[in-house]
């Protein structure tokens, strides 16, 4: 089996490959393997939530072959971390099927979920990296984690630290990494969730924020580490440094997520090849980074959204493949692009929450908005709706959810290139009481009602 020492060796001794050549190889090899496995023309726009298990299994076989042929490229050294067939198979079995985050009464236990699993998926919710001011940041966190279905928390990204602009890779990032932990921990304590697991360090663009935050008095080994690899099948020193630091403080079983990001229309091509590349990246990055939560998403390169039809389909196929063929705790995302306090944002979020839950995700992360463009444009209600939909859809069939998603997609998919901006957090919430305004409550309840009428068994709410 591959260890961290193997990884550290291979980033220095693996075969050399320039990044430009790597990027060209991604699609060329994917086309070859997709053709070999008869995966050409498989995209099914009429069924965005796939329930084709034989397709999922074939994509899985293709992805294993692809990963063995490609490996993972280390950008810093431009050398490939090659994985043998045995190392990949061993990795599939050695990566964990259970995990834990948080402490005390707020501790949560994750486990591998099967497709249509009746046990609920763990929610990882919050602003998910949206830029927020020092003033609004703690209020937003506190408001999000008030909801009992929010199991763990992922915060916003601070843009200043004590008034200084944060610049990634500089001392301000290191300073802000610790600062984030103090603000978030106080915020969740005020919400009555002092032990809730916090995914961090959200603002850590490089390793410095992470090193600053995971320290005495900051985040602990029970707070899952965020380690997000870029597209496609790549890693780099900052990400490997995060991996090592997490092992230093808590060992290989300290929870950490890895990621596989693929762009439909980008280096991985179209949906047919993206599913192979994305799945290979998910498995490869999980093995290389000794990950607890292999996470993945396929976003549309034109709209940068993952809530469109192609993305929903691609992610459902990859989720199905992982749920059926591994015991991973698979992570899903909501990368909504509309702004907060808009119907579109709630519908995008709901689509992602339900589709990824029924396809076997063990954790669901969210909720992004507006590509992170507008300061403080993130609200708790999107996290709340995500939490409610994730819990309500445990045990539903993919076919049922597919029918719901088919109703919801046309409501927003033509707006993904030019979505509504929404409004900032403080304009839809009373920031003294941390309750939604009447207008916000009406919007949230109207979407809840619509989802319930479509067949999503949301729990009781005030109409």
């Amino acid at each position: 089996m591959i260890t961290l020492y193997d990884v550290m060796d291979r980033i220095q001794t693996g075969p050399i490959c320039k990044v430009a050549d790597w990027d060209k190889m991604i699609y060329a090899k994917a086309k070859e393997i997709a053709k070999k496995h008869d995966l050409v023309g498989i995209y099914d726009p009429q069924n965005p939530v796939s329930s084709d298990d034989s397709l999922a299994d074939e994509v899985f076989k293709a992805a294993l072959e692809y990963l063995e042929e490609m490996g993972i490229l280390c950008l810093a050294t431009q050398r490939i971390i090659k994985l043998s067939h045995d190392e990949i198979i061993e990795g599939l079995y050695h990566l964990p099927s259970t995990a834990q985050a948080g402490s005390g009464a707020d501790v949560v236990n994750y486990h591998h979920r099967a497709i249509e699993d009746k046990t609920p998926c763990i929610t990882v919710l919050g602003s998910f990296g949206h830029p927020m001011s020092e003033e609004m940041f703690p209020l937003h966190s506190q408001a999000v984690v008030q909801h009992p279905f929010v199991d763990t928390h992922v915060s916003a990204t601070l843009v200043t630290v004590y008034g200084l602009k944060i610049r990634s890779g500089t001392p301000t990032e290191t300073l802000a990494g610790y600062y984030e932990t103090q603000i978030v921990k106080e915020a969740v304590r005020k919400a009555g969730r002092p032990g809730i697991g916090i995914y961090g360090v959200e603002l850590s663009a490089t390793a410095y924020g992470n090193l600053g935050g995971y320290t005495y008095g900051g985040y602990t080994a029970q707070d899952p580490c965020i380690c997000v690899q870029p597209a496609e099948l790549k890693t780099d020193y900052p990400l490997l440094n995060k991996m090592i630091h997490r092992i230093n403080i808590g060992g290989v079983h300290a929870p950490m997520m890895s990621h596989s990001l693929s762009a439909i229309g980008g280096w991985a091509g179209g949906p047919d090849t993206v599913v192979v590349v994305n799945l290979a990246g998910c498995i490869g990055n999980a093995i290389v980074h000794q990950s607890t939560f292999p996470t993945h998403r396929c976003l549309d390169a034109v709209t940068s959204a993952d809530t469109g039809r192609q993305s929903v389909w691609c992610d459902s196929v990859v989720d199905n493949a992982l749920a059926r063929n591994t015991h991973f705790i698979v992570g899903g995302y909501a990368g909504s692009v509309a702004g907060p306090y808009t119907e579109m944002h709630l519908l995008e979020t709901a689509v992602r929450a339900m589709s990824r839950t029924v396809c076997g995700c063990g954790q669901f992360m969210g909720v992004k908005s507006t590509h992170g463009r507008y300061l403080n444009h993130s609200s708790p209600i999107e996290s709340w709706i995500a939490a409610e939909v994730v819990k309500a859809t445990a045990g539903l069939s993919r076919e049922h959810v597919n029918e719901v998603v088919k109703q919801l997609l046309p409501r927003y998919e033509d707006k993904l290139r030019d979505p509504p901006k929404g409004k900032p957090f403080q304009e839809g919430f009373d920031i003294k009481t941390l309750k939604p305004t009447e207008e916000t409550r009406r919007l949230l309840n109207s979407v809840r009602k619509e989802l319930k009428d479509l067949g999503i068994p949301l729990q009781a709410f005030t109409e």
Partner: protein
């Protein structure tokens, strides 16, 4: 084949990303005396606009666009020898130094923009990812660039846009370059706030803005 047919085949080979065909047809253009400038302008560049459009609609993907760029460059290399200095200058819309700022290793958006700009006729000097601010300026000076194109996907990398502009001002060379910025969290308002010359919300708009800044078509 008459001139129009040769030019049409030239365009088709480039749109299809067939480098060898592009070279062969370019050689035929030279040997048969077809106007090389006409072949490039009518055959290549018009067809390549089509490739960019088809990327937006999902009919082609980034690797296929890159193949078209490679075929285009191979064909133009053959024809260059038969072009006057004036004609060559007319073809090149401008030089763009393009990179992702320090602390940020995301490049897919930058790569798509770079490819679309190349398809449109710009020369791209891609300096990669995690690039310190001063390196953008150094490269722009070295390449005598027209545009410095800066990308960031991380919010905490955006302050480096301002740093690059500050360096240009402090060196007294701000007016020599047009500065364009882009990336997920970037907005027109932010571009205006920091004094950038242009912002592209997506790759298509980036091409349009780049042409507008350099007053070319």
């Amino acid at each position: 084949m008459n001139d129009e047919e040769i030019i049409k085949k030239f365009a088709e080979s480039v749109i299809a990303g067939e480098k060898e065909s592009s070279i062969r047809i370019a050689e035929e253009i030279v040997s048969t005396g077809v106007d090389p400038l006409k072949a490039i302008k009518e055959g290549l560049l018009g067809g390549l606009q089509d490739v960019g459009g088809r990327w937006v609609t999902g009919e082609v993907f980034l690797p296929e666009m890159m193949e078209s760029v490679t075929a285009m460059k191979a064909g133009i290399d053959i024809l260059k020898a038969n072009l006057s200095g004036t004609a060559l200058a007319e073809l090149k819309l401008g030089t763009v130094v393009l990179g992702t700022v320090q602390g940020d290793i995301h490049d897919i958006g930058k790569n798509i923009v770079g490819t679309m700009l190349e398809l449109a006729g710009f020369e791209i000097k891609d300096i990669g990812v995690d690039v310190p601010a001063m390196q953008f300026v150094d490269k722009a000076q070295e390449e005598k660039a027209d545009i410095i194109g800066i990308s960031a996907l991380m919010v905490t990398s955006m302050p480096f846009f301002e740093d690059i502009i500050s360096i240009l001002k402090d060196m007294g060379i701000r007016e020599k370059y047009k500065v364009m910025i882009g990336g997920g969290p970037v907005t027109q308002e932010y571009a205006d706030e920091i004094g950038a010359d242009g912002y592209g919300r997506d790759a298509e708009e980036a091409v349009r803005i780049a042409k507008k800044l350099l007053e070319v078509s």
